[in-house]
């Protein structure tokens, strides 16, 4: 099998790269081992959330040049501010084409509420999570209702409310909590304790009983202006359900990201995969690339777990296999390996230096910075130190950035995927 571009890894980075390549007429195949990390994410894209030492960043683009200057080996430093800006706006447009609207607070971060009631800086969020109306409503110390579904075990409105009250932004707001009940006929169950966000989303997707649910929300909300509800208002039909609930209750209702499986992440995943398929891309799910073979500083072919006898060949290859969790890197007792091409992984030799002893240490954990080192074109090096010319790395496999401590995970995934496509298009 032969295509122009083989992308190993079907997460946010691989999909962004695949969409851009396919849009420019290249034949693309994405090979993905299991569902991607969007299923465990908040569904928001952060660009730069924190300064070293945990100070919150309000205007990431104002600070990006300084950040790049002080982090010369950071992925952002390989392609610079302009590419990052173009990548994020491209990403928003592509998702929008599939009916999912993303909000960005002009060039600034916005702060969405987490399921613990803390605020998290983000650059792009789905409009059901944050939008202009909610931002304005929050400025007038409104009453806030935090609402759950009776029996849903992945969300505790009281925890959200008590943490919000600790925040100086909300200590003058009246916060109420309560739970709505699904009509019995909708589940056929005696109790709803086994329902997860995905089950509730499917019930909402059917679009029935919305009036009844709106009545219940109104009762709980009382005089509140804003209501927060766990992100389970549907996967395919959520925009419609949310606007109906807002109209019927007269409230600004927003969604709060929940525990996995993340409905907000699944919406993004659906939008990206469906866009990729529209452009003629082939997405091979549930197969793992076992090994890539390199000849004369170029990837010759790869083989997969399911079809080890078949050589898959492409003109270009992208390695977007992610970090440790998705198997992009494998940590052994004293070493860290990249399993597909055996690329050079940057890490400190002594295992004791891999992590901080304090789990919430403000400097984070060193292992987050481990990864594959590349040149400025995102080409990695094989184990003899030679550049592999037709291979590009993108996303969480890259070294020298800490997605958690910096709040750069989504930004690096999107921009490096976009830039990898840029390099490929430049060469083809």
């Amino acid at each position: 099998m032969n295509v122009d571009c083989i992308i190993i890894g079907g997460g946010i980075s691989g999909l962004t790269c695949g969409i851009r390549c396919a849009e420019n007429g290249l034949s693309c195949a994405i090979i993905s081992a299991g569902m991607n990390a969007l299923h465990f994410s908040s569904g928001s894209i952060d660009l730069l959330g924190f300064h070293p030492g945990k100070n919150i960043v309000f205007s990431p683009f104002d600070e990006l040049n300084d950040f790049i200057h002080s982090h010369p080996r950071h992925p952002y430093s390989k392609y610079g501010r302009n590419v990052i800006e173009m990548a994020l706006s491209y990403f928003g447009d592509q998702v929008n084409l599939k009916g999912l609207e993303l909000f960005s607070n002009k060039q600034n971060n916005h702060f969405h509420v987490t399921s613990l009631g803390t605020l998290k800086p983000s650059f792009l969020s789905q409009k059901s999570v944050f939008n202009q109306h909610i931002m304005e409503a929050f400025q007038n110390n409104p009453g806030i209702a935090i609402i759950n579904m009776e029996g849903f075990r992945d969300f505790y409105p009281e925890v959200v409310a008590s943490n919000l009250k600790k925040n100086s932004l909300f200590n003058r707001c009246k916060i109420v909590t309560g739970s709505i009940q699904l009509p019995d006929s909708m589940t056929g169950l005696k109790n709803n304790c086994n329902l997860r966000s995905i089950d509730i989303s499917r019930i909402f997707d059917m679009g029935s009983h919305i009036d009844e649910i709106a009545d219940q929300i109104k009762k709980i909300a009382g005089n509140s202006k804003i209501a927060g509800i766990p992100a389970f208002l549907g996967i395919y039909n959520s925009g419609n359900i949310l606007s109906r609930l807002c109209d019927l209750t007269g409230l600004f209702i927003y969604e709060i990201p929940t525990l996995p499986p993340s409905i907000l992440g699944m919406r993004l995943d659906n939008a990206l995969k469906s866009r990729f398929a529209d452009l003629g891309g082939v997405y091979i799910a549930g197969d793992r690339v076992k090994k890539g073979y390199i000849k004369n500083n170029r990837v010759d072919y790869i083989i997969t777990q399911n079809n080890p006898d078949t050589h898959l060949t492409g003109t270009f290859y992208v390695l977007a296999t992610g970090s440790f969790f998705s198997g992009g890197m494998i940590s052994e007792s004293e070493s860290i390996k990249e399993p597909v091409f055996d690329l050079i992984v940057e890490y400190t030799k002594n295992r004791k230096t891999w992590y901080s002893h304090d789990f919430f240490h403000p400097a984070g954990h060193p292992f987050f910075n481990f990864g594959v080192n590349t040149n400025d074109q995102l080409n990695p090096f094989d184990n003899s130190g030679k550049t592999i010319k037709n291979l590009y790395c993108s996303g969480a496999i890259l070294s020298h950035y800490d997605p958690v401590t910096e709040g750069t995970g989504g930004g690096v995934a999107v921009s490096s995927g976009y830039y990898a496509a840029d390099r490929i298009l430049n060469h083809s």
Partner: protein
């Protein structure tokens, strides 16, 4: 003592992504989903088999959980094994008749048209429903007269003239139900200058595994492995299989679930479109005439699981005049014998409904799919003819079929 080798469930990190993609959990809250029925409760079952939760009987073994799992847990295998190992052993005549395809097939093909006539009569359907719990809403598949294996004798000599020959594992469906598909395979391979030999085969074991006849499945597997080894005879000859689920059994279920050694045959076995696709890539393309048809392609779960969909799509794209529309990847619900069972019939319908709606809204001329049971399900629920990719190629070959018999 806990068998320490069998702890793949320990790789589960409880992310619940499998349950999000489970077609059964999507339509019924009676099934708690693959995470709970598989890795979660396996740790209880190995301590005490009495902790078996009956709800795992709802699993239809479509394997979509394994496609979704980011941690490489063989969830469906854990569930199938648990069904067999821990469920109380009750003999069910219905499950035996549905799963022992060689037995049922031999009886039915002996009677041929008479059998088909009777199973289509409403009173007979009601009786099957009442006594055997085979849903009267489903129509049992049609059986052919005689076996494909027997028919092949008539053209065996023509096949020996080809320099390149492959072993064709036709499976029960071609042998007992649909000789035409088998003839299409011969026709297409012959047009590519490739001859065919058969091997002695028994049911690959897919229905046996699904109905917890694992010991019988192992016996069949041992027979097939030995027989295929003999047919390959130490050469590099390929074994092509026209049923996606048979291929899946031979390549994956034998070593993973049945724990059989397939090292001698595994690299030889290839699903038919994968084999044809590779021939196409080597420029061995038969002369095809434009079909002028719009087709909707449905990818069967087991073909998805083994990564074979790209080959079918690639081959179909090469057929001139075939406008191909790819259906959103979804389970059709039938899952082999699952949808025929009265207690699961409604679940199977609910699973398939989205797919049927999609097909109807596309209004294709034909539907294409690789799996025989998907074909039955789609034909029972939409007005369209459903063809195997190889049969579509056969139609494109010079308009009508070669005369294979001498």
């Amino acid at each position: 003592m806990i068998n320490l080798e069998n702890i793949s469930f320990d790789h589960c990190i409880k992310c619940t992504v499998c349950t999000a993609y489970c077609p059964v959990a999507r339509v019924t809250h009676l099934y708690p989903g693959p995470k709970q029925s598989g890795p979660d409760t396996e740790r209880l079952r190995i301590k005490n088999p009495n902790l078996l939760d009956e709800s795992l009987k709802y699993c239809n073994n479509c394997k979509r959980c394994e496609i979704a799992c980011p941690s490489d847990v063989k969830i469906a295998d854990i569930i199938q094994n648990a069904k067999w190992k821990y469920s109380p052993k009750k003999f069910r005549l219905r499950d035996m008749l549905l799963s022992h395809t060689d037995l049922t097939g031999r009886i039915a093909t002996f009677a041929g048209p008479v059998f088909n006539f009777f199973t289509r009569l409403f009173p007979v359907k009601r009786l099957l429903d009442f006594f055997l719990n085979i849903s009267s809403k489903k129509t049992l598949p049609e059986y052919a007269r005689g076996t494909f294996h027997h028919w092949f004798n008539s053209c065996r000599s023509t096949q020996e003239d080809y320099d390149t020959r492959v072993v064709y594992f036709h499976g029960c469906y071609v042998n007992y139900n649909d000789h035409e598909l088998g003839k299409d395979v011969l026709c297409v391979l012959n047009a590519m200058n490739i001859g065919v030999t058969l091997t002695n085969e028994k049911c690959c074991g897919v229905p046996l595994i699904a109905n917890s006849f694992l010991s019988k499945a192992r016996r069949n597997a041992a027979y097939n492995i030995k027989s295929l080894e003999k047919s390959i005879g130490g050469t590099n000859r390929k074994v092509v299989v026209s049923s996606s689920s048979c291929t899946f059994a031979l390549k994956h279920e034998y070593p993973n679930l049945l724990e059989m050694d397939t090292s001698t045959i595994s690299s030889h076995i290839e699903y038919i479109t994968s084999y044809i696709c590779k021939q196409f890539l080597q420029k061995n393309i038969p002369d095809m005439k434009p079909l002028n048809l719009t087709a909707a392609y449905h990818s069967p779960c087991h073909l998805e699981r083994m990564g074979g969909v790209i080959y079918s799509v690639e081959v179909l794209k090469r057929i001139p005049g075939l406008e191909l529309k790819l259906l959103h990847s979804e389970c059709c619900g039938i899952s082999g014998t699952y949808g025929f069972k009265k207690e699961f019939e409604q679940i199977a319908q609910d699973i398939g409904n989205d797919l049927f709606r999609q097909i109807k809204s596309l209004q294709p001329d034909i539907v294409i799919t690789d799996c025989e049971t998907c074909k039955w399900q789609i034909e029972m629920n939409t007005p369209y003819e459903v063809l195997h990719p190889v049969s579509v190629i056969a139609r494109a070959l010079s308009g009508n079929k070669f005369d294979l018999t001498v």
